[in-house]
Symmetry: C2
Subunit: 554 residues, 2 copies
């Protein structure tokens, strides 16, 4: 009997977490990669800049990798490529804007020449190894987003990317219902669908709603308007620019990523800017107050962003003036709530009129709510269902939703990153596991900060460090200098001289005791010092700073 053909889905990111989306599709000796995103560090990942997927599995099977296809240009779908493109070294496919934004990032890393980028239009089909891949237009909070149909000898796999159902998209590019429905009619083996908003009932409102709110706000504003939003939400920038134009205002752009994205989107034809609308910041500052709009970064309250600097009054070019209307056109990403709240408070204190989440229609999500998820399932009518993109509870909710719509529970797979989901034409199963995980990026270091370093940073951040240095004679074993104690992040030294002096005495005693006991092994002496001092400090302060004994030998 001939072996039944099999196709495997191997999530390397995007399951049980938000961000770092990456899915490997394997057929025979061929691997196609969908997306290559990064995520931003969790709170406990101290000092970490970004988190990228562990690609051990891909590197171990490098000769099998035949290409990477991107669904859209958000960081959590393309952001790891600047770190990994050189190692992966295969062509990268995507729509024009997606690759344009990627190219911008690659340029910053000096990698623009090294990656083979291939622009594909929606409905075009491309062959990547044995995979026939088709890009299918969907709506999202960035233009030129697509779902994928991956045709394999086993069956068709549909990967939604990130999507929403927007019946009145700003660029007029409606989700390609026909293709999705046609694929469904012909038969789809597996649907992988975006779970981010599965907890929300109903429908996600159209992006146009925000345009209406802008219009309303512009109509009433008598002085300057400052809009903070995600740089990549080009539809929203478009609506702000149109509103500005209609109400006779000029537009100035603040914040590096806003300037970059706006120029790429404009250059590639994704943004219409009426002639003469865009002005430099200097000019904007000279215009009458009712003639200007600033588009700014900082909608998440990020400490170094333009809006946050304005709020603190230390932005070099833009100052918040009483009477300014500040629109924060975004919802705080989980974890950023307090940062955003602080910026709002500071803006209020400067006398600005702040419009934020409290006004409905100032932001809409780019992800599908429950009714949209149901529509996707009914369009695609898959045999098997794999919820993707979301924390674990969301994947579970999405599975329940699919089951409630009639997909048998045995055909639904709530997987973890690294699990291999193997499908034949008739069956699906979990078939083992490959290496998957997180790689932490800190500055230029990729993966050199692990648990030990993070644990140390954690301890240092809580109670600081005490360094005990003593110079000991190699010959006599006698103390030649010290013990000296230096502390950082523990107590303010000038006000705690007595405590530190007592600590020094404790160390001396410990050293004397070591000497009496004839202890000469450094490790033993150090742990004696560490223990004595740690105990003393805890008794006195109820804190546990890191105690680091250093012995110098002369």
């Amino acid at each position: 009997m001939a072996k039944e053909p099999k196709v495997a889905l191997i999530p390397l990111g995007g399951l049980g977490e938000i961000g770092k989306n990456m899915m490997a599709v394997r057929y025979g000796e061929n691997i196609l990669l969908v997306d290559c995103g990064l995520m931003f560090p969790e709170e406990e990942m101290l000092g970490i800049d970004v988190v990228i997927p562990d690609i051990t599995y891909l590197l171990e099977n490098k000769e099998q990798l035949c290409g990477i296809v991107l669904t859209h240009g958000h960081e959590d779908h393309i952001g790891a490529l600047p770190y990994l493109a050189r190692q992966l070294d295969v062509p990268v496919y995507g729509t024009k804007l997606t690759l344009g934004l990627l190219q911008g990032k690659l340029k910053e890393q000096g990698l623009s020449e090294t990656v083979d980028l291939r622009v594909v239009r929606p409905r075009d089909e491309i062959w990547i190894g044995p995979f026939r891949v088709e890009l299918i237009r969907v709506s999202h909070s960035i233009p030129d987003a697509v779902a994928l149909a991956i045709h394999t000898p086993v069956g068709v796999l549909v990967h939604t990317g990130d999507f929403k159902i927007d019946h009145t998209p700003v660029d007029g590019e409606v989700t390609d219902f026909f293709r999705l429905a046609q694929l469904g009619e012909k038969g789809v083996l597996v649907l992988m669908s975006d779970s981010t908003n599965v907890e929300r009932p109903g429908y996600t409102p159209s992006e146009r709603v925000v345009g209406q709110t802008f219009d309303e706000t512009f109509r009433h504003a008598r002085e300057r308007i400052i809009i903070a939003t995600f740089a990549s939400n080009i539809h929203r920038l478009q609506q702000a620019i149109i509103a500005a134009h209609q109400y006779g205002r000029k537009v100035a752009v603040v914040g590096r990523s806003m300037v970059n994205v706006l120029s790429i989107a404009h250059e590639l034809g994704y943004l219409y800017i009426p002639d003469g609308t865009l002005v430099e910041l200097e000019e904007a500052n000279r215009l009458p107050k009712n003639k200007v709009v600033f588009l700014s970064t900082g909608s998440q309250g990020e400490p170094m962003s333009a809006l946050t600097r304005m709020a603190w009054g230390d932005h070099r070019q833009v100052e918040i003036l009483p009477g300014d209307t500040v629109i924060i056109s975004a919802a705080p990403i989980p974890g950023n709530e307090k940062l955003v709240a602080r910026v709002i408070d500071l803006l209020f204190k400067k006398g600005a009129h702040v419009i934020y989440e409290n006004v409905s229609g100032i932001h809409v999500s780019g992800h599908p709510s429950q009714e949209e998820l149901k529509l996707m399932i009914n369009l695609v009518k898959p045999k098997f269902f794999v919820p993707i993109h979301g924390e674990y509870r969301m994947l579970r909710k999405h599975a329940e939703l699919a089951q409630a719509m009639g997909i048998p529970p045995g055909n639904i797979f709530v997987a973890e990153n690294g699990q291999v989901l193997e499908f034949t034409r008739r069956s699906g199963r979990v078939a083992g596991r490959v290496t998957a995980g997180r790689v932490l990026v800190d500055g230029l270091g990729v993966g050199d900060v692990g648990n030990i370093v993070l644990r140390d940073r954690r301890q240092l951040s809580q109670d600081g460090i005490l360094i005990v240095v003593v110079t000991i004679s190699r010959d006599s074993g006698l103390v030649m200098a010290g013990p000296d104690i230096v502390s950082r992040g523990f107590v303010y030294v000038r006000e705690s001289e007595k405590l530190l002096e007592e600590a020094r005495e404790k160390v001396k005693d410990a050293l004397d005791k070591c000497n009496e006991q004839g202890l000469s092994e450094w490790g033993a002496i150090k742990s004696q010092v560490r223990e004595t001092l740690g105990k003393f400090l805890y008794e006195k302060t109820r804190r546990r700073p890191m105690v680091l004994p250093i012995i110098m030998e002369v």
Copy 2:
């Protein structure tokens, strides 16, 4: 002309922040203090346990302080007393439960004998110095909460405390509308009112709604039920206990603060527990799965709390089993969203059925929404209005709401902590400022961690530390030992030996250069080392660890 009598409100906490509520009321040479709360540290206050108000002003005027009156027993209203009671050293007034909870805290600190606690019943009047103070029943998320009417020769001041309008409170103790209205009818000089929920339109639902949700959940649950909520929400514990009793389940209590509060509330008669309902954990674990309910701490995903430990599978006594129903009956406090989400995810992974914010009616707020705030203003009909308890934007919103109801803008004061608001019978004004602020508590240290220590902790937490030790001859200036480099929280040393060796060489070069230049002043040598090494490390790693040179002299 006789001097017009004046009363001053001096907020020492609770304005522009959530928590740390404290208001001084001054008449002549007398100060009455309302509440004495703590707040939990902001994210950037690394290693800090709690934040209490700066009481410099009160200590400078200690002989004027005649008493402290508490509105209710939440941490943000009573929690600073264990730190400050000894210094303030005046009688503390409050309702029975409020003082019972405070006494529990004082006991833990060995202070139960040192504080003069005086129980007052609602509608009773007490004289505290020249102030006639009346406690007025209000609803809140803890029983025995009161507003205050402070009668002064200048006029009546009404302080709402924290409140909500609950027409069907669990304990039947309805807000004393009559007294509030009667005071309003006779004339109130100033109303200070809770701004926490001013951004929410409409009404806050009754606590009973949660009881109905419990009932519904209990009716359907076939296995164990675990409810996590705030220990102090005794109404909610009551409803859980009643539901358990009705559905034939026993109740076991998990988590230290839950055990403490439950026993105090029960002892003081604020909690009805049907005979035989409460069981020990060991017994609960032996009962059939459909016969038990656990009441647990951890509704905020606090890392060391009972529920979080259960979710990670390292609670010693309670294990999450597949089929358990876990109810998280709380909304995440801003800043805790990600902690809570992680616990939910872990519970899902253990196969529990988790009911959280996604289910309406699983939690209601204890603070008043806009319509309730309006009712308070219309009951009390104050001449002057001071919004309290909230971030700055909320105070502003509350001021706008009061203005929209007809209070003239000149009679509304959005103040900052430390500002003195002075009122005569006819006028109000900001009359200067006293010392106010935050004191950070870390372990036993109250106020010994300031900006420098926090800045160091911040730097240590981001990129760690490199310590460079060198022993130099006092006589010759020659290097006798070292330079040795020790790092923590920077890179994992075993994998970065080459980098650290290069760093050592850089330090050697720097020391040689100092020698050549005849530099012998330690400060100069140290800064040379710090600069050279800092630059080298930044080039190599794009990180900025703390560089700490230590020179030992022999």
